[in-house]
């Protein structure tokens, strides 16, 4: 189901990068591929559908000069090939171009193609039939001097003398020939080549090339006795006589022999010339007749008998005049070479029919009298001309041939196709070019046109003259489509090729970016030599349309979560207005179904958990309520709610508070509620109650899966995949595939959310960087800097760009009025508004405008400078302006979004803000930025898995790395872990990692050490590391925080009162030590969420579900008889960890859910260890006697306060560090030069810790590799003349930027000065300077006052 129609020429969305448009081509539509003239059928139909008939006709005439003729007599192979045949019936393609031709003819101003510049070469065309005329038409357009020689007194060949005018009126043919005359083609009629002139004579007259298109005008003989009696008229001759205006009357009973269109023409012409009973004799059945079906049908309508399976054997005459015809009955035998069943005579079935005349119409052949001795052409065994199949060149190089003369009797459109190809050849021949090069010979039509769910639309019938009106005259039978019918018929086109090849874009593109050549672009193979490959092919959303149970394909109000995202998006099809797709009704009740295409082997093959669906469903529910109002009822049907990410649990809790309903149930049926579009949902509650509830809309939370083409890619690259078709990797090297040098990141590594993908992406970059370090900076180029324009002392010329931000701003603020208002402000030279000011094309335009209007100050009124200032500043630099000559004005986040119910006042506020920004920017001056060296050493704090992974990545890339660990040993919490989920012991791999770190000459390990002080800033940190009493100062450019986490010491479940009650890590120790007690266990109970997801600790510790299940399986492996229970709230085995959960259930581990309100109770009575809880499914209390209780304890942040203070880093309520951006900056801090990884960020398993360690290193390397960084320009500056040397600034600055000039300085000794490198531009010194000697560039006092003054101005 598509939400919105996308044209073939498109850009994916307004902010797309690159911003250029692309044209989607699926391939050549079958109509075009099949048409011998390869008319751009889909193109002219699309233009017709659009009402652009003239353009449609012009497009047709690019390939074919006879839309009117072929619109009447074509055998329309295009319609036989039409994809619509598979749906209902083909398009009336020929009726459509007939409509175009008739419209053009009726316009009084018929289209004549534009000729190219005149060429002097003369070309002779022999035969004025469709082939010759077409060849003449195209050569005339090329500019040649073309003469057509025709034996008959009339032009058109078979079009004129072969086809009766009730089918093809003369004026239609004449009008289309007139266009050829208008192109300057000369016609000589009544001239017989070979008799009146020879080819040799014409060569002497200067003709450079010849096209022979003399057709096949001689009737084939029946080859039976009596054929030469009077009363036997060859069909073609009969038609010719009638068409030349000679009245022929054959008598009442006329037998026409043959089943082709010529036979039909003869029999219907006989009827029209007064014969009472003309009829057809044909040796095969009706189904095998080569004539058009319409022709046969019209014959029948006119009362003409078709005597099929009948073959003439003898003509019987009386006095030399035909009296009767003897025929024999036939039957159909085995198929012949043509695939048709061969007719076989039935012995003894001869019979006679009395007739007045007989017309044989069984085919024609060519009279080759034109080929005189000087022609070197040769004929083949069938008496047709021998030519090259592609070029149509004969054995004589300057002679080309086509049409019936080459093919034997064939169709008009084949002749036209031949004339067109011959014209190309002749043009190349004359220019001396290769006749073959680059000619398209492969016209394989597109195959994979989606047809599912297409409604049947009947073909629009052709209106016909009534049989009784038409059969006595030669008036045209088919009356043609009227405009409405043509439009309706054109609308049926399925647009098989996507791009219709109407080439209107070629004409429209002023930049010349789209040409016929670009339309002809073919896939290209490029070979790249690279040092590494990173695979990030992503996922595809699961497609539920194949599964009846979800009724997705049938019910329009069942949509996927991806569609829901678009419906909620301001740039989506409804502009963010939440409505049902089916009837545009605003929904009141929406249900989400979780695990569609995930955790499900029955209905799909994806047994893994897609990891992200729970969170996005909760998010969509919350946003939907935000869009539609609080009374929108949102219900999420789920199995386990998996909100295991950082701050996810809080989000889930908040959603519950906001009234989102969470129903733990898998829905089994969706039913339509009458015609209301509403959907009734039947489900079973946890307590076994069957419920029915009606919703307006259902959102299927579709899972993530690897696309089939990605699986193919993996095969080609020889990469091993997991059972779920994700890239196989190991926990200690999660970004490495099975093939060295190829790395993986993102959802192909396993279903995952955005932050994890971003982490993995940086980790993969680090992994690639590790093997390529030797070649760093060898292939990169430094971007050219645009020289800065000097605007000093110029009067301000301000440009104001007001953003609509789709509807984000314009939905509330009246953007045009803000724009117009801005234009009235002082010094504003230019004001405009943009749909998306941040889009690449707007940026390009902005740079152009700056140059064109010589703007020297720019104001962008849009979103927030915190996200977009840098982008716009780059545009200023691209236009040669200093980037500080810029001001942003926040009319989205701080205006339209927060005042949506107050559009007038919001607009007023926007105007005020623009006025203030204009006032400020006028006073802006160009600012310089200072360069700063980046110390090339790194400091990693924390020697656990993440810290070691980070150190290894840095060391391998050649950077000196200090690894500081508080303990005496490296390894962190991983030293307590037993095994990874793949069953491999942690210890061995941990030891290997420690050995790698210790063996790396670039890594200096500081054990038993802590940080005691940090000075400096990005690029130049000085950190004091304390080892006992010993202190060492380390200089480093970057720091990585990898301080890890600690396990909770539980206070519940009687922990500490019995040695059989242990924590997960204590159980790991037992498993590691092969504790024999494990094998003796009668029962073991795991209690999940011990300390996690509690009101005082509202987060999920992420690893415990997998850990407990893994341990449970380890117990089961050693002691299969043990009864193992896992008491849980939600099982959160995300991604392919789900397999472990499945395995555990299969192996008999018993899972019992409990709720926060009814936690399990542990009791120790007389040495008996018992756990009691209520089974929610049975609704009954359960009592488990056990020998072991393992508590899945929460993971806690250690006391990070000191470190947070040292580096000025934020901590969240749970004590974990707060990264720069939850999605896009998971390893960065707002503080430059400091990075984050491992459990210091959030609880995580080994693979994710390794990944984030490497990712943090990658982020750090991006800084180290630059070697220099630029500081900001908005720094404080002292005017020494005013400085009173009081020293307040020196003492107050948190960054130690101000200092006193030395007493020995020649100028201003002892006065204050500010180091611009150290200055952060906070302005503290400025405000505290009692002499007013310090100013802050970019936030100068006069600028702030200008804003204040502007505030007061009446607008």
């Amino acid at each position: 189901m598509g939400l919105v129609e996308r044209k073939a020429t498109h850009r994916r969305y307004a902010q797309a990068i690159p911003g250029a448009f692309a044209i989607t081509k699926r391939g050549t539509a079958p109509c075009r591929a099949t048409c011998p003239a390869h008319v751009s059928v889909q193109g002219f139909i699309a233009l017709t559908n659009d009402g652009r008939y003239r353009e449609a006709l012009e497009l047709f005439k690019q390939d074919h000069p006879f839309p009117g003729v072929c619109g009447r007599v074509c055998t329309h192979p295009c319609e036989s090939a039409c994809t619509r045949n598979a749906v209902d019936s083909p398009l009336g393609i020929m009726y459509l171009h007939r409509f175009l031709a008739d419209t053009d003819r009726a316009s009084g101003n018929p289209y004549v193609p534009v000729k190219k510049p005149r060429r002097e070469e003369k070309i002779a065309i022999v035969g004025a039939g469709p082939a010759g005329l077409t060849c003449a038409y195209f050569l005339a357009i090329e500019g040649y001097q073309v003469t057509v020689f025709e034996k008959l007194p009339v032009l058109g060949g078979m079009l004129t003398v072969g086809i009766p005018s009730y089918r093809l009126p003369r004026d239609v043919t004449e009008a289309e020939i007139q266009v050829i005359k208008d192109l300057g083609v000369e016609f000589k009629t009544g001239v017989e080549i070979g008799k009146d002139f020879t080819v040799g004579q014409l060569r002497e007259q200067g003709y450079k090339a010849f096209f022979i298109g003399i057709g096949a005008q001689e009737c084939k003989r029946l080859g039976i006795e009596g054929e030469d009696y009077k009363g036997v008229y060859p069909g073609v001759e009969f038609l010719r006589e009638i068409n030349l205006g000679n009245r022929v009357h054959l008598g009442d009973r006329v037998a026409v022999v043959g089943g082709g269109n010529v036979a039909m023409d003869c029999v219907r012409s006989a009827l029209r010339t007064g014969s009472k009973k003309p009829f057809i004799i044909y040796r095969r059945a009706v189904e095998q007749m080569p004539a058009n079906a319409e022709e046969i049908e019209e014959c029948r309508e006119e009362g003409i008998e078709l005597m099929t399976l009948t073959n003439p054997t003898r003509v019987i005459a009386e006095n030399g005049v035909v009296k009767a015809i003897e025929c024999i009955k036939m039957e159909l035998g085995p198929p012949d070479k043509s695939g048709r069943q061969r007719p076989v005579p039935i012995k003894g079935s001869e019979f006679q029919i009395e007739v007045d005349a007989i017309i044989p119409a069984i085919g024609q052949e060519t009279d080759w009298a034109c080929l005189t001795d000087e022609c070197a052409c040769t004929l083949n065994d069938w008496g047709t001309m021998r030519v090259d199949k592609v070029t149509l060149q004969t054995s004589d190089p300057d002679i080309f041939a086509g049409g019936d003369a080459v093919t034997g009797p064939a169709t008009v459109v084949e002749a036209i196709g031949a004339g067109k190809e011959a014209a190309v050849s002749i043009d190349r021949f004359i220019r001396g070019e290769d006749l073959f090069a680059g000619r398209r010979t492969d016209w394989t039509p597109v195959q994979d046109v989606p047809l599912d769910g297409l409604p049947h639309v009947a073909r629009n019938p052709m209106s016909l003259l009534a049989p009784e009106v038409r059969k006595t005259n030669f008036n045209e039978v088919q009356r043609g489509y009227d405009e409405n019918t043509a439009r309706a018929e054109a609308h049926r086109c399925l647009e098989c090729g996507v791009c219709c090849e109407c080439y209107q874009c070629v004409a429209a593109c002023k930049a010349g970016a789209v040409t016929l050549e670009t339309h002809g672009q073919k896939p290209e193979t490029i070979t790249l030599e690279t040092g590494a490959v990173i695979l990030a092919p992503g996922f595809e959303p699961f497609d539920p349309s194949r599964f009846d149970s979800y009724a997705y394909a049938k019910l329009p109000n069942v949509i996927t979560s991806m569609e829901m995202e678009r419906l909620l998006s301001a740039s989506g099809p409804t502009g963010g207005h939440l409505v049902r797709l089916g009837d545009h009704k605003e929904p009141k009740k929406i249900a989400w179904f979780q695990c569609v295409g995930s955790r499900d082997l029955n209905r799909c093959d994806n047994s893994f958990c897609s990891s992200v669906c729970c969170m996005y469903a909760v998010k969509e529910a919350v946003i939907a309520k935000e869009h539609a109002g609080d009374d929108l009822d949102c219900a999420i049907f789920f199995m386990d709610m998996r909100t295991h990410g950082k701050d996810f649990e809080r989000f889930y809790n908040k959603a519950k508070d906001q009234g989102v309903r969470f129903i733990r149930s898998r829905v089994h049926t969706i039913d339509k509620v009458g015609d209301t579009g509403d959907l009734a949902v039947r489900y079973v509650t946890e307590s076994g109650e069957l419920k029915t509830e009606t919703f307006d809309m259902i959102v299927l939370s579709v899972g993530l899966q690897t696309a089939a083409e990605t699986v193919e890619l993996a095969k080609r690259l020889d990469i091993e995949l997991t059972p779920g078709h994700f890239a196989q990797s190991a926990p200690f090297a999660p970004m490495a595939t099975s093939r060295p040098g190829i790395f993986v990141c993102g959802a192909f590594q396993g279903p995952r959310d955005i932050p994890q993908s971003v982490v993995d992406a940086s980790a993969a970059a680090a992994a690639a960087g590790e093997i390529l370090a030797a070649a760093r900076d060898t292939l990169t180029v430094v971007p050219e800097k645009v020289p800065e324009v000097n605007v000093f002392n110029e009067r301000p010329r301000i440009g104001v760009f007001v953003c609509n931000c789709g509807i984000n701003i314009s939905g509330t603020v009246n953007v045009p009025s803000v724009r117009d208002y801005a234009a009235t402000l002082p010094y504003v030279e230019y004001a405009t508004d943009n749909l998306y000011t941040c889009s690449q094309d707007t940026q390009d335009r902005m740079a152009e405008v700056i140059k064109e209007k010589q703007l020297n100050r720019v104001v962008v009124a849009a979103c927030t400078p915190k996200t977009h200032e840098a982008l716009f500043q780059e545009t200023l630099m691209a236009a040669g302006l200093n980037k500080y000559l810029f001001e942003m004005c926040n009319i989205r986040n701080q205006d339209s979004w927060v005042h949506k119910h107050n559009p007038d006042l919001a607009t007023q506020k926007a105007k005020d803000l623009v006025r203030m920004a204009v006032a400020k920017v006028g006073l802006m001056q160009p600012l310089k930025e200072a360069q700063l060296d980046v110390n090339q050493a790194a400091l990693v704090i924390g020697g656990g898995i993440a810290g070691m992974a980070a150190a290894r990545a840095l060391g391998a890339q050649g950077y000196t790395t200090h690894l500081v660990e508080r303990e005496a040993l490296l390894g962190g919490q991983a030293r307590h872990l037993f095994q990874t989920p793949d069953g491999a012991p942690v210890a061995a791999r941990l030891d290997q990692l420690v050995a790698d770190v210790s063996g790396d000459p670039n890594i200096q390990t500081h054990l038993n050490s802590e940080i005691s002080a940090v000075e400096g800033f990005v690029g130049n940190f000085k950190t004091t590391v304390k080892n006992g009493a010993q202190e060492q100062v380390i200089e480093h450019g970057v720091a990585i925080i990898a301080t890890g986490a600690v396990p909770l010491v539980p206070t519940e479940y009687s922990y500490g009162q019995d040695s059989r009650i242990v924590t997960s890590l204590e159980l790991d120790a037992k498993l590691k030590a092969d504790d024999p007690a494990i094998e003796e266990l009668g029962a073991a109970v795991f209690i999940q969420c011990v300390g996690s997801r509690e009101p005082e600790r509202p987060y999920c510790s992420r690893v415990c579900c997998t850990h407990s299940i893994d341990s449970a399986l380890a117990i089961k492996a050693r002691n299969p008889e043990a009864n193992v229970y896992i008491l849980y709230r939600d099982i959160r085995t995300y991604g392919e960890r789900e397999y472990l959960y499945k395995e555990a259930r299969e192996k008999g581990v018993i899972f019992i859910r409990y709720s926060l309100e009814a936690k399990p109770k542990v009791s120790i009575e007389n040495g008996r260890l018992t756990v009691r809880l209520t089974d929610p499914i049975l609704g009954r209390p359960v009592e488990i006697d056990t020998d072991l209780i393992s508590l899945a304890t929460a993971i806690l942040a250690p006391d990070n306060n000191a470190l947070a203070q040292f580096f000025k880093l934020p901590l969240n309520d749970d004590g974990f560090f707060v990264e720069k951006h939850a999605k896009l900056g998971p390893c960065d801090f707002a503080t430059d030069g400091v990075f984050l990884c491992g459990m210091a960020h959030y609880p995580k398993p080994i693979d994710e810790a390794v990944s984030q360690g490497k990712a943090a290193a990658s982020r750090a390397v991006t800084l180290l590799a630059r070697q220099h960084i630029s500081t900001i320009g908005q720094v404080a500056e002292v005017n020494p003349a005013l400085c009173s040397m009081c020293g307040v600034c020196v003492s107050i600055c948190p960054y130690s930027a101000p200092s006193f000039r030395a007493a020995t300085e020649r100028f201003w000794p002892g006065r204050a000065e500010i180091n611009p490198v150290l200055c952060k531009g906070c302005g503290l010194c400025v405000a505290s300077c009692r002499s007013g000697a310090i100013r802050l560039k970019g936030f100068d006092t006069d600028q702030i006052f200008a804003q204040l003054f502007a505030l007061n101005e009446a607008s």
């Binding site: 205006d895 908005q1274 503290l1324 702030i1344 804003q1347």
Partner: protein, 66 residues
Amino acid sequence: MSQWEPKIVAFLCNWCSYGAADLAGVSRMEYPPNIRVIRIPCTGRMSPKFVLGALREGADGVWVSG
């Protein structure tokens, strides 16, 4: 005569309160449109002169946040 509405000038620190005001927008919170924000690099930049200036220019209230 319409109801009197105060005019408030807010000096917001770029790093915290200004970002918070952005977040209020992202979260689609609503508040009265009486506030005009002046972004300053840090409340350290704040000078009493600005408060006085704002009041002199017609502000009924000045809000400094950082």
